[in-house]
Symmetry: none
Subunit: 181 residues, 4 copies
DNA sequence: AATGAATGAGCGTTCATTCAT
DNA sequence: GATGAATGAACGCTCATTCAT
């Protein structure tokens, strides 16, 4: 019994299943067999057919997850203009994603951890937006003088260690103190 | 041609090779075959002979690496009494280990990441010492009021994101500012 | 050179080869390697592909063997109505299977012996049919009073010890004497 | 710490441990590793030292177990002169051994099953004594005319299928009926 | 009489991928 | 756009045995 759907729909089905498997079982255990089982597909051949190889699949998962997460971040920070509010909003929003989009967040981390060549690229991407805001805040005299790159990466690291929204608020307090100095 | 050495020497040879392979290739790629090749041993059977199973080997690697790292940390913090100096010393020493003991540090992270039951235990172990120092600093009025647990975990996360000793110094500045408030 | 056949045909080829290997070498020596060699397949991977695991393969072997054996038994006892004739037919047919279907009979025994959870189920299955016939014979007054369960199991044990059709006839004489009493 | 005992004592310790492991886990799972663990020995080397190879060890286990079992049988049948009483005594005593010497009985069966060359020898040995008694009973006119070899083997098979002393008594009734005819 | 250390061969299973329609 | 079938390589682990004191 052969079910035919569009290329795009099939790719989406597979990347979503892969995202959930990676989040649940970790990158290394996210084999074609497990993804196929989770998605209820007929055979691993369907993955090979729609993705060149496993790396190709992982890139698709990553791009989709980053897209979703970024969209939410943009929406929640839209219209926030004061620097301190932006910093708090950034941190709390990111931590909040753990609850609203756990699979995407975990999948991004797993993939970044397991594809070493990707980690710095992802880190730069993630840190870039924040670093620009911090630099602007320093120019406006709202933030003290500190190494913007170190601060941005440390904030990102801190967010990765968070596990609740209470923790996120404490984290925001902490880094506002460190930035305002 | 059969080469015989003592049990202890062989175990050490294997754990050291395993440490290096884990650091270089990651936990998941640290197979018996790779370890044996790296150590120049005759067969993977030698590992099975000296370690009950792979988990047993990994625990031996972990214990050895933590022992080495802890010894260095203790030596470098010995005699430091003021809280701020301790905090700087802790952060800079930990970051410094990345250069002096890269394999041990990376192996500890890899093992913690890949043995999920172990991660919280290791995290508590690592954060505990720091949290006690922070609490004491608050009692003495040197540090501001903040959530000690969040601060300790954030410092640990920040250290994990570091990649140079310059970075470590900036990190110390940052967290001293956040703690002294 | 890749040879492709249907799933069903391949499964049958593998179960038949497995049946023969088990009968010849015993359950424990029936490794994937031996089965593949016996069947002339390209690699053990073919077995893993068509059967979930070794237990799955063994169940397939068992079901096929029992099916074959049962079919023969049913055919040979069909239309036999008198109790004594049935008893003789049952014993001689079962012993006869040793010559006509030696691999199936031996494979069933090997699997039952080596999968302990299975032994009682198989024993009940085998003994059940016989026990019902014996009980009915007692009701009709053809058979003496004896413990039906013990008699049925003893007949089954006796059959398992048989090694020729002459032996089977003697066995039938013996148990008819014991039953008619 | 090297403990030295006599050759004979050590062999006995090992064969007894092996007997228990075989009885508990089956012949195939009775590896040197398991035997050594069960006996509390320092290494498998101790087995290799005292026994030429695994077959040698199994023969020692078998001889010891048969010796024990035979001794009991002889003691219990000593002085029994009437044929029917002997037959009942033989069957009930053998079944009784299952309770009094379960490890020896199970070990003998396991070894016989797994060393195919041995099975007929053991069967003859076991059946011989019984067959002579049955023949004598026929000469005396106590027993009917039947194939002594088949009867003896069937009795032995029936005993192997027994699992309680009640079952043993039923079995004795059954075979007395079949023999006296 | 005993030991410590080492070993090659084999096991079932999982992996992502490829062949052939 | 989708499938069924096949594959070689690698995995951790266990086996009885042998080397060397």
């Amino acid at each position: 019994m052969q079910v035919t759907v569009t290329e795009a729909a099939r790719r989406k089905q597979i990347t979503e299943a892969a995202t959930e498997v990676i989040a649940a079982d970790g990158y290394q255990r996210a084999s074609y067999a497990r993804i196929v089982e989770h998605a209820g597909l007929s055979s691993t051949r369907l993955i090979s057919y729609h993705f060149r190889d496993k790396n190709d699949l992982m890139m698709a998962v990553l791009i989709a997850a980053i897209g979703t997460v970024d969209e939410r971040m943009t929406a929640r920070l839209d219209g926030v203009t004061d620097r301190v509010g932006m910093l708090r909003g950034y941190i709390e929003s990111q931590v909040g994603l753990l609850r609203t989009h756990p699979a995407q967040v975990k999948a991004i981390r797993e993939i970044a951890q397991n594809l070493p060549d990707l980690a710095p690229v992802l880190a730069d991407f993630r840190v870039g937006r924040l670093a620009r805001q911090l630099t602007q805040g320093q120019r406006e005299g709202v933030f003290a003088e500190f190494d913007v790159r170190v601060m941005a990466r440390t904030i990102a690291s801190g967010i990765d260690g968070a596990d609740s929204e209470d923790y996120g608020r404490e984290l925001a307090d902490l880094f506002i103190r460190a930035c305002v100095g």
